[in-house]
Assembly symmetry: C2
Homo-oligomer: 227 residues x 2
DNA sequence: CCGATTTAGCGTATGGGATACGCATAAAAG
DNA sequence: CTTTTATGCGTATCCCATACGCTAAATCGG
């Protein structure tokens, strides 16, 4: 038998509690003291199971992601597009996920499962293994970047609604000197930035879809140019 | 005349000093006390010119980016590819740029100049204004995400070299159950993750180039499908 | 059953950080 | 020279992460 007092909590419990706090009040609310209180323990008790707060964050990062959903029927493009949207949705459900300072390449089971899912989508595609990874990495980078953007803007919007409502285009018109930046001025004049309603879900979602479309189009072109 | 004591410093000075600290010792070293010390002032003096540390970070974000370089000759693809690499290089020169929690859409002059530069690259391309913005946003998202990835891994690498050296593939082999994740296992077996030398510049640079290639390919396909 | 050993829980203390508050001081106005 | 106003900044508060060492529980060898 193992000697010594029996542990009453373990790292997984701590991680769970920390995630609960982050879900409820954001990542900023996750302090060792707050998590300990959540569990009914003393702050320093946590350090028996977790070396540092950074390690706790890494653990949270590993277990935050949910299971990837099963891929739909269809060709690789349907599947990969679905995958990208699923990633976005999963991240949106845990907005603090992207705020964790990442520590290295994925090794948690959930993250690997997502990777496997994306590679499964490319199963029947005639690409080299290295190319497949490149495709998935690139797509993943895009999705995470977009998720970050959406999360940030949504957050800034909540903090001060009305700041974006159609004032952004106006503000740009004031700042931008058409002589110095003609290309930008032209686009501004076209009214692209005059979002008169919400910057929220619709427009940003459309941006995401368009970027995704471009990327998948590129993958298709690459495949075609290859065979 | 303006009444009251004359200010000896202003927000721009503070921002400059903060950037100097970040350049030299990283964003984590930027505290109000540290910046004040750098300027030979007392900590609380800064608060006369900057509402909060968050505001200081926003100011840093606005002035961190350098001027965009002039675009090369060539077609839109050369120009946009050059632009993307220039963005990456600029960010790599200030790794802390991406660590700043962003606050909203770009409004600083430098950031707008980069946007203008990208739109200039698309000048002669037959796309709607909204589509151009979509292209630039998507590309920008990709580049920033990739830059973040590279920065993070490089940082983790410095912290513990040898951890990645060809052990990553090995570790994955141990973790991944080929029965549960066949697609991933296949790629692992192909040796894609057995980076025997450095995870650094070369491989990551290649990933970046490939992703960029895919995206630009997608833009080209979209243009073609449009006209 | 008893002391030795090992390990978990945790109280206390330290050092840092952001920032509210108010005082003293400098500069212009009258 | 006095009043007004804005600046520089000392002090103090509150929140964090975390090192250290004590105490208590559980097992082991006798």
């Amino acid at each position: 038998m193992k000697r010594g007092r029996k542990p009453t909590i373990d790292a997984a419990d701590i991680t769970r509690a920390a995630i609960a706090v982050a879900d409820a009040e954001g990542l900023a609310a996750v302090s060792m003291a707050r998590v300990a209180q959540e569990m009914g323990n003393a702050t320093m008790a946590l350090y028996r199971h977790v070396k540092s707060k950074d390690e706790l964050l890494a653990l949270m990062w590993d277990s935050a992601m949910e299971e990837p959903p099963p891929l739909p029927d269809g060709d690789w493009r349907d599947k990969l597009g679905f995958w990208a949207k699923a990633v976005l949705a999963a991240i949106r459900r845990r907005p603090w996920f992207l705020q964790i300072p990442i520590s290295g390449p994925p090794s948690g089971p959930k993250n690997l499962a997502w990777l496997d899912s994306a590679l499964t989508a490319l199963e029947d595609v005639p690409l080299e293994p290295g190319e497949k990874i490149g495709v998935v990495m690139g797509l993943s980078t895009f999705v995470q970047g977009e998720a970050r953007l959406i999360g940030t803007l949504a957050q800034g919007f909540e903090a001060d609604p009305g700041r974006f409502n159609h004032q952004y285009g106006q503000r740009l018109r004031e700042i931008v000197d058409p002589g110095a930046m003609p290309a930008l001025a032209e686009i501004i004049e076209a009214g692209v930035f005059d979002l008169d309603d919400v910057v929220r879900a619709e427009d940003l979602g459309a941006d995401f879809d368009f970027g995704l479309h471009l990327f998948l189009e590129g993958v298709a072109a690459h495949i075609k140019g290859r065979s």
